[in-house]
Symmetry: C2
Subunit: 309 residues, 2 copies
Amino acid sequence: MLSAMNLLDRQSARRHDEAYLNQLLAAPQTQLIALVGAKPVIRSNAERTAATLATIDPVVCPGGPPKLDDVMFLGVDTTTGTALFARSFTAEQAQALDPQGATLAPAVDLRSLAMQGVLAPQELGTAATAAALQAWHDSARFCGRCAAPTVSRNGGWSRHCGTCNVSHFPRTDPVVIMLVTAGDKCVLARQSAFPENMVSAIAGFLEPGETIETAVIRETEEEIGIRVHDVTYLASQPWPFPHTLMIGCRAETTHHPLKVDPSELESAQWVSRQDTRRMLANTHPDGLWVPGPHAIARTLISLFAQEKI
Amino acid sequence: MLSAMNLLDRQSARRHDEAYLNQLLAAPQTQLIALVGAKPVIRSNAERTAATLATIDPVVCPGGPPKLDDVMFLGVDTTTGTALFARSFTAEQAQALDPQGATLAPAVDLRSLAMQGVLAPQELGTAATAAALQAWHDSARFCGRCAAPTVSRNGGWSRHCGTCNVSHFPRTDPVVIMLVTAGDKCVLARQSAFPENMVSAIAGFLEPGETIETAVIRETEEEIGIRVHDVTYLASQPWPFPHTLMIGCRAETTHHPLKVDPSELESAQWVSRQDTRRMLANTHPDGLWVPGPHAIARTLISLFAQEKI
């Protein structure tokens, strides 16, 4: 029932080939990633310290063998040749996958699992793809131009409106996430929705007409009242809540006092390199901690703690 | 009728304040950027070597003074205090802005004007914001979840579905554009839609679940059959066709032979640094040329020509 994920070849040039996709869907090796709504079902140990995506054989699929219109083609495992699809189930159907309920964690936990770093990076990427695609399907069932129903095409990578004769494509929202630094200090902040004592880098949606750099400058000024003078791109990460691309940057400043926007943040503070090391090691005297491995915020904070930025 | 654009303060925290926006809309200084559909109307000299966005005074607006639901609030000019909105007009209404038709260029020319570099960077950013927002409005008139009509909110920065009680936000599609390099050569390619003899860097949409770097690797392999081993972010640019964020990278490789995907590209070739200089200077013996200033492709190619990458 479970399979380890290797590097996936998305085979985007073959998504239009329905005969090929149907052949893959019927192949004995093929696996389906199970979603409930747009949230992947994951399998974890009791302590929730390790987890994998729950996959199932299409021939034992609840509700019968899936049709091409119902699934999303994620790609072919380059090592094993196994094709991977994803499909959304009802909560009741998902329950049937694991009658004992012993190891299947509710999909709602993916965000915290991701932030705690218990899902391997490749699996997080696959989960992000499936979850982002499904969330987009759910939001694009009708044509935004004419209100006619749309249908899934290209193995779930587009939806077509027959009335407008227009194709709609999956949505990815760019978000800038920036570690604001001034010498040996950086800014870490809390949103009210964060788990207790967790702090992180500040972030916000990039708006139409902005570059990555101007979005970083605007968001930093809005959220903590700081004007930054130098922005450096560091890394990016897909984040399936619901379909986001996190663009991680360092933003340097010489201005120190923070003016926190209470509509965006609960609090924000300057933190020394030494304190970032304590937060990363879970030894901070006030119990403050930062997001786990595979969350891009931790990558940014670790680079700072290690004096690499 | 025309105004020079300075740095705009987007005032995103005040977009929900209808009284404030109505007050700005009625202020004597306030200007409207005119769009036809989602395409900005521009004013240029006869040779099309210089252009500005066409703006109008709301009190002489064709069809009467605009209502808040019909306009998009772009921000306040930080130098002059002038508020800037954008509004879409019919082609006939736009015609009335310039009865002689001497200097108003059809909006459809914005892309080539942008690629030829005749619009100043700040104006291109403002145009990108207005065009991207309007294109998104046109595509989001009905709720994709339930097909009910949506209404504009927050000065045009969201649309609300009263049936789902859900807000929809503007869409920005991340695109990776990469200069593939191997030592002193880079890859320049042609799409069949390009103007004659123009070549550029290759590009493609980032897909759900990808990082910037994995999108660059996948697209390069798909389009020219090259596996790149190192990806470096260089710069980004908003591109309003219809609502794109161009993410410019250098992608290094050691593999030389190109295998062009004919469904994506007309041709692709390895070009020496010396030849990139000739293309930038319009002195290439075969007449090949590259996109103009303010197009991010030219930024990437110029960095290579100048041996900065």
